[in-house]
């Protein structure tokens, strides 16, 4: 069993790594030049090049993948004179990068060829101080300095030769002089909880993602709790009545339910309960990301939609498994031993019959997540699914990478749990 457990965990880790590589390559390479998407097709090649440099896109793909996954502050640190620190912006709660100069949080800029320190004050503003003494002698006559700029990049300034750079501001692209020569856009990396900046919201992805993941987990969790007992019940019921009328009814209904797309079910549930019966809110406006906690009734329709689709699938799996078990030799033994029917079903059959569905159900969680995306879009539910959808439409790569990783993580972890559950239920594996 130890072998099995270790294998599962190792394989899960490898899977996650493979997924992250695949995802990164697909998005970053498959999508072509991002700067065109952000700056628009009317931007000049010069503007794009400058912008690409600022995003650190000139680094090789493997380098960017590593930066994305594990962060690049350690890379910047080795070049900088002063140690890097992170501080939380008191207003936005966003993480900012600073350098620690003698206990004072400091950033730098070039102004008319001169290096200036921006020292952070208590109120969040910073005061400008000269920093000509920070220059370091490089090879030949060149003097340079690695510092932090006010856009959370580690940058290399070179004395006397400020670059002309195009900076994207709220008002559009602006040309600035005195720019740095090299950029490392600082990030902690995905595994340390930093998923980069969302272009759509211009905020860190991880901050937007957190409440959304929570909302989705609530939705999926409630649906799961509703679906599983019902589905297992109906599945077992149909399984032990194989071929009878009850089985036919359950089987046909569940086939019909699984074969109706979520979006159709959702629309009709709105129509029935919201418009015709008026028992549930037809148009649910999720005013804030916490709305579901204020009015749990808002969950009713999304959960019902998910239930309708999932119920049939799991019930069908359970039925098939139950039928197979009821046909097996050891059930025959139990019957021939003269065990009462219900004892045969409950003591002998169910445990074995549930083994197959449990692994399948756990594998099926990513199907559930797929359903969640659609349901969230229909109902405008502020969850992970809708976020992925919006990001995909917008082309917000950092956001979609992070969100997809989260869904994959959820799927993989439930699968791992399924494996473990199977191991625990099945003595043949447990004592192997």
């Amino acid at each position: 069993m130890v072998r099995f457990l270790v294998r599962s965990v190792v394989s899960t880790i490898i899977t996650i790594l493979l997924v992250s590589i695949g995802l990164f390559v697909l998005i970053e390479v498959g999508s072509g030049d991002i700067s065109v998407k952000i700056l628009g097709v009317f931007s000049t090649p010069e503007q794009r090049a400058s912008y690409r440099a600022q995003l650190g896109l000139n680094a090789p793909t493997w380098q960017r993948y590593l930066d994305w996954l594990v962060g690049n502050d350690w890379r910047a640190k080795s070049r900088m004179t002063y140690p890097l620190i992170t501080l939380k912006n008191p207003k936005t709660k966003e993480v900012e990068w600073w350098a620690d100069v003698d206990g004072q949080a400091t950033r730098w800029k070039m102004d008319k060829g001169e290096l200036k320190r921006l020292v952070r004050k208590e109120d969040g503003f910073s005061k400008v101080m000269p920093a000509e003494s920070d220059w370091i002698k490089g090879e030949g006559t060149e003097e340079f300095f690695w510092g932090v700029d006010n856009r959370n990049n580690a940058v290399k300034f070179v004395k006397g030769s400020g670059e002309e750079v195009w900076v994207l501001t709220k008002a559009g692209l602006r040309k600035q002089g005195d720019g740095p020569r090299e950029y490392i856009p600082l990030r902690k990396g995905l595994i340390r909880g930093d998923a980069g900046l969302s272009w759509q919201y211009n905020r860190p992805v991880s901050m937007i993602l957190k409440p959304r993941v929570r909302n989705t987990l609530v939705l999926a969790g409630v649906a799961f709790v509703v679906v599983m007992p019902l589905a297992l019940f109906f599945g077992i019921l149909a399984g032990i009545n194989e071929g009878k009328l009850l089985d036919r009814i359950i089987s046909i209904t569940s086939l019909g339910a699984t074969s109706t797309p979520e979006f159709v079910t959702g629309i009709f549930l709105i129509l029935i309960f919201g418009i015709w019966l008026k028992v549930l809110p037809a148009v649910t406006m999720f005013t804030s990301s916490n709305a579901i906690f204020e009015n749990p009734m808002m969950l009713a329709l999304p959960v019902m939609t998910l239930t309708a689709v999932e119920l049939g699938y799991v019930a069908r799996m359970t039925r098939a498994s139950m039928v197979e078990v009821m046909d097996s030799a050891y059930i025959r033994t139990a019957i021939v031993k003269g065990m009462p029917y219900w004892r045969v079903v409950f003591r002998h059959a169910i445990r074995n019959a549930l083994m197959a569905p449990i692994t399948i159900i756990m594998l099926h969680v990513n199907w559930l997540i797929g359903g969640v995306v659609v349901v969230e879009v229909i109902f405008g539910y502020p969850g992970l699914g809708k976020f992925i959808f919006d990001s995909a439409i917008f082309g917000d790569f950092s956001a979609i990478e992070a969100a997809a990783m989260v869904t994959v993580l959820i799927a993989i972890i439930t699968r791992l749990i399924g494996d473990l559950a199977y191991t625990l239920l099945n003595p043949r594996v447990r004592y192997a």
């Binding site: 130890v2 050891y330 021939v336 074995n352």
Partner: protein, 706 residues
Amino acid sequence: MAEPTRRKSEDIPVLDIENLAVAYKVRGGEVEAIQNVTLDIKKGESHGIVGESGCGKSTCAWSIINFLGANGYVKRGTIKFQGKNLVGKKGEELRRLRGDQIAMVYQDPMQSLNHSMVLGEQLKEVLTVHQGMSNKAAEKDCIRMLEKVQMPDAANVMRRFPHQISGGQQQRVVIAMALLNNPALLLMDEPTTALDVTVEAAVLDLIADLRKEFNTAIMYITHDLGVVARVSTRVGVMYAGEMVERATVEELFKSPQHPYTQGLMRCVPKLGTDRSSSILYPIPGRVPPPGGRPAGCVFWPRCDYVRKRCREERPKLRSIAGTETWVRCHFSEDIDMGSWEPPEDLVLPGTVQKKEVDETILEVKGLKKYYRVRGNSLKDVFGMGEKQYVKAVEHASFKVPRGKTLGIVGESGCGKSTLVKTIIGLERATDGEARFLGFDITNSISARDRKLIQELQMVFQNPDSTMNPSYTVGQQIARPLKRFNVMPKEKITDEVLRLLRSMRLDEKYYDRLPRQLSGGEKQRVGIARALASHPDLVLCDEPVSALDVSVQAAIINLLLEIQEEFGTTLIFISHDLSVTRFFSEYVCVMYLGQIMELGPAEEIYAPPYHPYTEALLSAVPIPDPTAKQKRVRLQGVVPSAIAPPSGCRLNTRCPRREMLPDPDICLTDPPWREVHPGHHIYCHIPLDELRKIDPVVSIKEVNHAG
């Protein structure tokens, strides 16, 4: 008042079946699986039911407890259990009978135990449900019963899962479970068929002992005439859904009355007789399926004595005057088994003396095959644990002369299949030498020359998987011809048809798919495919063990015939010592990866024996109730091949170990003792001591074959 009623219940047979017919509803009608079955079993009696597959033996047992599935039902007749009719009983009444009054043991113990429940739970519920016994009391009774079925460490077994004990032990648990409520009737459906011969012998001993102790009526179903001769007092022979003959076991084997029974007797090899006289005579044709039974006597299409009346009128089961025998044949009094003559078109092999060619075709020296296995501790997972190996074959050495047959016998796990796979190249030898036609063959098959591959072919065990279901017979036999460029393309079809004919299959088989063939026919095609490239050596991996006896005889004869015709050398693996005896000139006995004894067949089957050979021979069920067979049993279970006992691998179970003054010597490698040139025994016990041991089997020479 009590006295007469008790007396009465003594007289009433426990089970009394009369004119039973069971039918199954199928698409477009129904088929009668069994018809006109009549039998009765008295208290303390063991009634054997024997017949080939598809004869309705199991249906007969299932109908007693009314477990015929959704589409089966009793169409005619009565089943009386202790005087009360069981037909039509259902629900609660039936449930109370099952497992309490009538218990059942069937073939595959691994499948019939619930793999996610501990054995104790499965045993105890029989008592708690039927007798309302408390859990504690039930536990005690169960342990006592497990001890009665000679289960070692009974209390501990209660807490184990089925997969944690061996197959033989599982069957003991199932038997214990059946006996817990001291049933009046015990139905046993091939309970030892899936077991190894030595394990089978021990279980059969157990059943015999238990029958004496519990005085239970037993209905014992088997296809094996040897087993039936050992366990039963009376026997019923079933053929095509009918009971064709019933007699006491002695009568049945001494003077079988029905032509089918006689045919069966002629086609099983008997251990102990010498080879030349034990020719097997297959029964022509095959068992008709339930839907396609002939009118009149069910056996007439295969019967040698068929007359007009047989085709028209179905015989009744009638008593033979002056005996306890009942037979379903019009003319059984007219038939004399002694004067039976084999049909003229039957070619009898093995009668001609083979030419002595002194050429060694295959020589194996010190061959080893180890498999790497992974341990389960955390250390092993990270590759830091000790490397473990299954020592499947250890130091195998032998020679095979051209044109002869070497039989390799041993129980499952003895390494016989691995040895053969290594020779043919499906596995790479770990160490040692192997030369075939002078070429080294310790490498794997992909490294061999195509000419060499062509000379070494194989026949497989399972008729259902030996042929690819997607291709026709013709395509499959033609494939090796194409692959090895044996002949120009345009001649291939003719060659395939020629091969088919030599397998006694006519050309209409050319376009058949495997599912349209019977087991025996598939096996013939398998042999044709192996022979297509004209190999010098053919390895046969239990080619007949999955076949019915009547078919088995035909295939064995065919192989012998081919050997004579082509001069092919054969290596024949089998777990069946009787068949091997009949088939081979040389025999090699293996146990747990080691060769224990090697020599000419007639010497292997006579003293001096290796102790393991002796135990094997004493375990073989002999289809002759008068045969005297010593009872030598191996103790304990087969040790793991990962950590086999050191020295002689049999030392943990050897029945003759105490013959040595110092039994510890068995922990060292034994010497190869030479009995005669070519006959070697791998044992510490001196030959003189081994020679003192009596022969295991002694049979009064009654030769049915005439």
